[in-house]
Symmetry: C2
Subunit: 233 residues, 2 copies
Amino acid sequence: MKNLFYQPAIESGVHYLDPEESRHAAKVLRKKTGDTIHVTDGKGNLYTCSITEPRPDKCAFTIQSIEQEAKKSFRIHIAIAPTKNPDRIEWFVEKAIEVGIDEISFIECDNSERTSIKLERIKKLAVSAMKQSLKFSSAKINSIKQLGDFIKTVTAAEKYIAYVDQSNPDQLARVANPSGDYLVLIGPEGDFSPAELGLAIETGFKKVALGPSRLRTETAGLVACHTLNLINL
Amino acid sequence: MKNLFYQPAIESGVHYLDPEESRHAAKVLRKKTGDTIHVTDGKGNLYTCSITEPRPDKCAFTIQSIEQEAKKSFRIHIAIAPTKNPDRIEWFVEKAIEVGIDEISFIECDNSERTSIKLERIKKLAVSAMKQSLKFSSAKINSIKQLGDFIKTVTAAEKYIAYVDQSNPDQLARVANPSGDYLVLIGPEGDFSPAELGLAIETGFKKVALGPSRLRTETAGLVACHTLNLINL
């Protein structure tokens, strides 16, 4: 399998591709009637399909077989402050999906340099990254919330806040348990404020370090995501 | 310390900053005579300096004290195929330096889509990344070589070739030993050819996987780099 198409409504009987994907199948890849394509619903299912009508605006197919993605024993949710340069946070989304992530939230912090994100653009990018890395589950992408509001509502068994300080807190790689339901908070360039750190700790978050290097926000996010994937390898 | 300046010739008595860095110190940060700045030579030393003349073209200083970076017990060298889109390989260089890397080489492979790199641009970017992450050792950046020529000349105690196949080879995170002298080969989007894989294995490279996900070249490079940093945490 070299190409993966996305049709989130396939289970509800939508057996054709959206215009952009139809164009890709019919025009770019020149798929013909009877050709096999692979379609995912982003919900863990891979459909092997046969094209019935390769229209470049509405490429229709029938389902030949269904395969389910192997269930993972862990779940990764990262809540991150948008970077001043939006490219950097988009880069994080793309790379985290490649490496493996289940949910991404955006948080507005005391030291945030940017308090908005282009949610639709990021969701689209997330789908591209899923297809590119041949995954069958799309990451859940949430809109931005104030950190205080966010941490009041979230539930996760293992809650961490990445924080750079000189008292050398515990390393995420050492404190996180395999097969966990993780949530990691990643702050803006100026880091979380002491008040935010206090609030998180009160709410059950544990302060962790992400290695000895000073990392940019988006790098810290990816490093946290990769660390949690590695301890579950 | 919030800013780090770079003067590779400081040990040879060059006690002023280059024009670009002088401008940054004098014009952007408005440093004055008597102000303290931190300068690294990229060879593991941090100099605490006092400005004697804040000229925007040649900012002069005297050395107050020298501090050496703690020696690491391991060494990471990654040899990677340039990506079609040069931004992606530059991104790899920046992120690998943030996470921690000692040497980067570029390799031309059978399936390479690009066989050249902008070496001077990448070296400059590497220095920026070193300063940004407040490190005092610059990564060695080598020009591009044919894979065959490259693997004949390199020496490293632990040599790995990242290769995607279905026989599920050993995971880098499991086979690499702490405190190692590592070299990891990362192939182009079409991966290494069977001939290249055979040649590498003959030359003492071990085939490894980088987790269950299909990764782009630049992501694979960063994941390898971070994995080796993590097992030495």
